[in-house]
Symmetry: C2
Subunit: 295 residues, 2 copies
């Protein structure tokens, strides 16, 4: 591991004291003060696949690279601890590409007190590739997994869905604080961040939990970017959280709306099996559409 | 985070029970049983920069991607705990590319009881990119950093140097066990894995420790792949360890050679300042050559 030029940038601003690392050490050293679960997630973004560098610029790319990983920590109701980042920078770029990329990452990481503690900076003749890994720690009742939803549980989401391609997929704020607040307030039975699309991701919860779900079309909050139910069901990269709670907790969350800045919506109920969409009192089986991971 | 196809492969073989993760969870959950330091390192390898896929094949690439990260954990005298891997697979490849890549990673990771607990699998029109992150834990006296060498300390290396381009850079075994054994036996003042080249990497120790070093040309063990002092000094990717110990510990290590399978060599001494090469009783200042990180 090395940080080369980006290491110089990193030293320009103070770091979280929890990360004890020399600028040139082979690995970052993080103080892990108490027995707890360590959460690890990694995501790679590539030019012309996850973004178009010439259209959106490196700052937003850096921001997104960090945000998608923070969103995965949020989905576990974890607290982010630190990040490392590996990049392949196109030689056709210049120093400002690396700088802006880093500033974007750093801005997002700083917003969640997550020091970037190391990385690997490379140049090549290919397009920009950026791969971030974020570590987190489990808090409170422990990490929230995808398995754990039970028939009868309510399904809630943290915000409106659909049309993220118009900009939200780059500029979203990961629901880290919201997840921690919810985790503190109620027992979250299962949770996921909506990256593949609502139907597909709720399908992931069902697959892991061994149950089914009924989504109520009229209750799904539609994004102003879309206002389209089909898109709300199938568009990826909304990065809102979908989670399962007991009906009593669900009702309490709806009534009190205790999470600052967002409106929680109850959009369905877990059942024994099947994935169903209920619309105008009619229930029909749904083929989860959305992002299908390649290969 | 997702593992898609590679996740299927992962489930074919049992995992280290320390990693508690559902196949589809958003982040891996690692049990961190006691307060200790968590080590994190990341390295990215790209086709035509770090290897030529058409010449070496995906198995060796996967192996190397894991090995370079394990070597960084070794350089801190840490014990590897888990790995995550993100890949960009060329669409021109086929399923066997992903499989062989994963088998190479897995073979190396298994050799060091390091479960691959998650990842991100992508397809694209670009060349193969693979980015691994390895977590480790500090043991015994804690992590060994680059700072900590003192004038008077001896400089030792774990094996012969030079000519790694003929194959060792792909097929080396990271010195994880050797580092743990040394850490157990003596107080390691500073350590590094030789990835940039002996002179450059010992220069890194000096820079971090605020001291200098004299390398004794006649004592540097030359690899059979090179037999050339200049190459031993400047070739990168030998992935042997270079470390600083007290003269008493250095003498003991040389006499007893207590690390199974390798021959330790004392090749120099740390001094107040300067980087020097001593040859035929003549001492001359050295310009560290070797791999210079780009950008």
């Amino acid at each position: 591991m090395e940080f080369a030029y980006i290491d110089w940038l990193r030293r320009q601003t103070p770091m979280n004291p929890r990360a004890l690392v020399g600028p040139g050490d082979d690995a970052a050293v993080l103080d892990w003060p108490a027995p707890s679960s360590c959460l690890v997630t990694t995501d790679m973004l590539m030019d012309d696949v996850d973004f178009r560098l010439d259209e959106v610029g490196p700052h937003r790319v850096g921001r997104k690279a960090m945000a998608v990983n923070l969103s995965d920590i949020a989905a576990m109701a974890g607290r982010p601890v630190a990040a490392v980042v590996a990049v392949a920078l196109p030689r056709t770029g210049n120093t400002s590409l690396a700088e802006e990329l880093y500033r974007g990452m750093r801005e997002m990481a700083d917003a969640f007190d997550t020091p970037i503690v190391g990385g690997d900076t490379n140049g090549w003749n290919g397009p920009l590739v950026i791969s971030a890994t974020v570590l987190g720690e489990a808090v409170g009742r422990g990490p929230v997994l995808r398995r754990g939803a039970k028939p009868g549980d309510w399904l809630l989401v943290t915000g409106p869905l659909g049309g993220s391609i118009r900009g939200k997929h780059l500029d979203f704020t990961p629901r880290v604080r919201e997840a921690l607040r919810l985790h503190d307030l109620v027992e979250l039975h299962a949770m996921i961040d909506i990256s593949d699309g609502l139907a597909a991701d709720v399908g992931h919860i069902c697959a892991e939990s061994g149950c089914g779900v009924v989504l109520r079309a009229e209750d799904i909050p539609l994004s102003n970017d879309s206002r389209d139910l089909e898109q709300a069901l199938s568009d990826g990269e909304d990065f809102e959280l979908a989670f399962a709670v007991s009906p009593a907790d669900g009702q309490m969350l709806l009534n009190k709306q205790p999470v600052l800045g967002i409106t929680l919506s109850a959009i369905g109920e877990f059942v024994a099996d099947g994935i169903w969409l209920e619309q105008a009192s009619e229930r029909r089986p749904m083929q989860p559409k959305g992002w299908v991971h390649e290969l």
